[in-house]
């Protein structure tokens, strides 16, 4: 029994230390984002490249997924509302659930699968190849040059892509409102606008920014934890990705709690 409590205690301490490390690391990167000296020509180049890789290259797949998945989702939700006789709540459901909750969630899942895993691997490979040591040798701060642009890119990309996802959903809503409820575009627009609360939009954008920050910061942190052996790369990547998904769930739960109270 004593051994069990000792094991549990050690595990709790480990979790606590790990979380504290992540918070300290997050604060360090966050502070750098607001410092002017971070934005050197080299950093800006990395930032532009990262935004291109994360937000532009993904666009064809992202638009196809959002059109198909979004239309399907809107179709199902509208049909259910009609069947349950809850047509008057269409605007609230559209804005409160689909736009402010599902759009950021689906966007962050897509970006995590595509970009967070790539960032995690990239950092681990750089560590194994001693390329981080190269940067240090030439007095290039890795927080300024590698971390800040990737984290900033995460924030910008999630906010933009999530907004795009919401726009696609709202546009497909026009079609389904016509097909299912026989509603014209003016009525639909009125319903959506009347159900829109400024605070919901702010909360959604803020949540996107938090998502973007952590889905890039956590893979970077775990990538940097790789040792100098090739075998440490898959371990660093799998641990990083598990933690990213845990962070997504935690952020989602916290945002729901904030909305609730």
């Amino acid at each position: 029994m004593k051994a069990f409590w000792e094991k549990l205690g050690r595990f709790a301490i480990l979790i606590f230390e790990d979380s504290a490390d992540t918070i300290v690391f997050a604060v360090r990167v966050f502070v750098r984002i607001f410092q002017r000296k971070t934005y050197s020509s080299a950093m800006r180049e990395v930032l532009v490249n990262q935004i291109y890789f994360t937000s532009i290259q993904i666009l064809p797949v992202f638009i196809i997924v959002s059109v198909f998945f979004g239309s399907l989702l809107i179709g199902i939700v509208f049909t259910m509302l009609k069947d349950l006789g809850l047509t008057e709540f269409i605007g609230h459901v559209l804005m409160g659930l689909i736009v402010t909750e599902l759009s950021p969630f689906l966007t962050v899942l897509l970006v995590t699968l595509r970009s967070a895993s790539a960032i995690n691997t990239e950092m681990a490979v750089m560590k194994v190849n001693r390329e981080l040591k190269t940067l240090e040798t030439f007095r290039i701060d890795i927080v300024d040059y590698l971390l800040a642009p990737r984290v900033l890119n995460g924030i910008i990309s999630i906010v933009l892509l999530s907004s795009l996802f919401s726009i696609v959903l709202l546009i497909s809503g026009i079609l389904f409102a016509k097909l299912i409820f026989g509603m014209n575009i003016n009525v639909y627009t009125n319903i959506v606008l009347n159900s829109t609360h400024f605070s919901d939009i702010v909360l959604m954008l803020f949540k996107c920014a938090i998502y973007g920050f952590f889905i890039t910061l956590i893979p970077i942190r775990f990538g940097l934890r790789a040792s100098h052996e090739l075998t440490s790369i898959p371990i660093a990547v799998s641990r990083g990705m598990v933690n990213v998904f845990a962070a997504i769930v935690i952020i989602e739960v916290l945002s729901l709690l904030i909305k609730l109270y």
Binding site: S40, S41, R44, V125, E131, T137, I140
Partner: protein, 134 residues
């Protein structure tokens, strides 16, 4: 050594090129980061310097596709980009093992002589014969 910390520019197997960046970016990075040189100007400078040692054609290649001589040339130019560079070449024959003598390296150093302040080559005593009269 500490007083020259900002000038020290190593060329060594322990300081590899960044593999997910083009050759020109590895060279331009130093100017872009430390001197805030605009990207296009830094790119032009890097490509021009590569041209001086006859390596212009590899400007847009990446580290894994380079030959040992090309890789050495890029590492040398990267080091030369440091302001008032004090180039420190660590065991050059470890970077290019098949090289018979130091001739190729000295000729490269002469070609870019205006880009650095001084150059120091470090190697084992038993490699002395490869250096000839140097």
């Amino acid at each position: 050594m500490r007083e020259f910390a900002t000038q020290a520019a190593p060329v060594s197997v322990d300081v590899p090129l960044i593999s997910n960046q083009d050759v020109y970016m590895n060279i331009a990075l130093i100017k872009e980061y430390h001197e805030n040189m605009p990207r296009q100007q830094a790119e032009r400078l890097a490509v021009h310097c590569l041209g001086r040692i006859g390596l212009e054609h590899i400007a847009y290649n990446r580290n894994p596709s380079l030959t040992l001589e090309e890789r050495f040339g890029v590492m040398l130019l990267r080091a030369a980009m440091v302001k008032d560079a004090m180039i420190l070449i660590d065991k050059p024959f470890e970077l290019i093992p098949h090289l018979q003598d130091i001739q190729m390296i000295t000729s490269m150093l002469k070609t870019i002589g205006d880009l650095y302040l001084s150059c120091h080559i470090y190697d084992y005593q038993w490699m002395q014969e490869k250096y000839g009269e140097l």
